[in-house]
Amino acid sequence: MARVIVDVMPKPEILDPQGKAVHGALPRLGYHAVTDVRQGKRFELEVEVADEATLAEVHALAGTLLSNPVIEDYSVRVDQ
């Protein structure tokens, strides 16, 4: 068994209200070092084997179902 990680993030130019809300809460908690927050999603996909064919399938589903290419970017990596 292997695990493939898909990270999905809002594109840099797209407003991220959730990230802004998190960032807005930090000063109230006394944290002042963080200058910006962007919030995304992480998917952990269990696969039999992380070979080329499987990764091609993961890329296909990451670009259609897991992310919306209009507003999000995704990246795929095999969890070692």
Binding site: I14, L15, P17, A21, L65, L66, N68, V70, I71
Partner: protein
Amino acid sequence: MKVGVVTFPGSLDDVDAQRAVRIAGGEPVALWHGDHDLKGVDAVILPGGFSYGDYLRAGAIARFAPVMTEVIAAAQGGMPVLGICNGFQILCESHLLPGALIRNDHRTFICRDQTLKVESSSTAWTSDLSVGDEIVIPLKNGEGGFVADEDTLDRLEGEGQVVFRYVDFNPNGSLRDIAGITNECGNVVGLMPHPEHAVEDLTGPGTDGLALFTSALATLTSA
């Protein structure tokens, strides 16, 4: 004329949409998300709500529902399709309409009677309206911010594909105050506010929403 209204798990306004079709003089037909069957309808409405709990992204899972195979093919073949709120989100996720809807810029759910300016009367769903008309219909959404890249926005404006714009107040951070758009052919329209909630004086801010449904029936009759 038969107008199908799709019910997804989590749809809320499917019955209101059916009622609007009936008041407009059409015959509403209930369609089920899990069926590969449009039951011979002449037009389709994707109603508001929270299909599949809005999990992943609003409309993202509904887009792959069995019935959507038929809806997408019919829309590409010219059938009038209207997406209201969650239905608009589904149309964007299906790539039947460009752009996407994201969380409101002020991060809160908003519910209000919203004034819209009609920007196009040359769609299947707005032929009974005139450009420049102002209509008031309810708006209720948490993820209604319309976004697209600058080129797409310029193209929408240039090709007359902006159908409705928010007036006086932008309730969700939509770029260029866009409340509703259409595809290149004008048969597919999506908007965030809810015309089906403004079809009777007793239950809404007026009857301005009725024009969208009578427009589609008129379009079908004249076709």
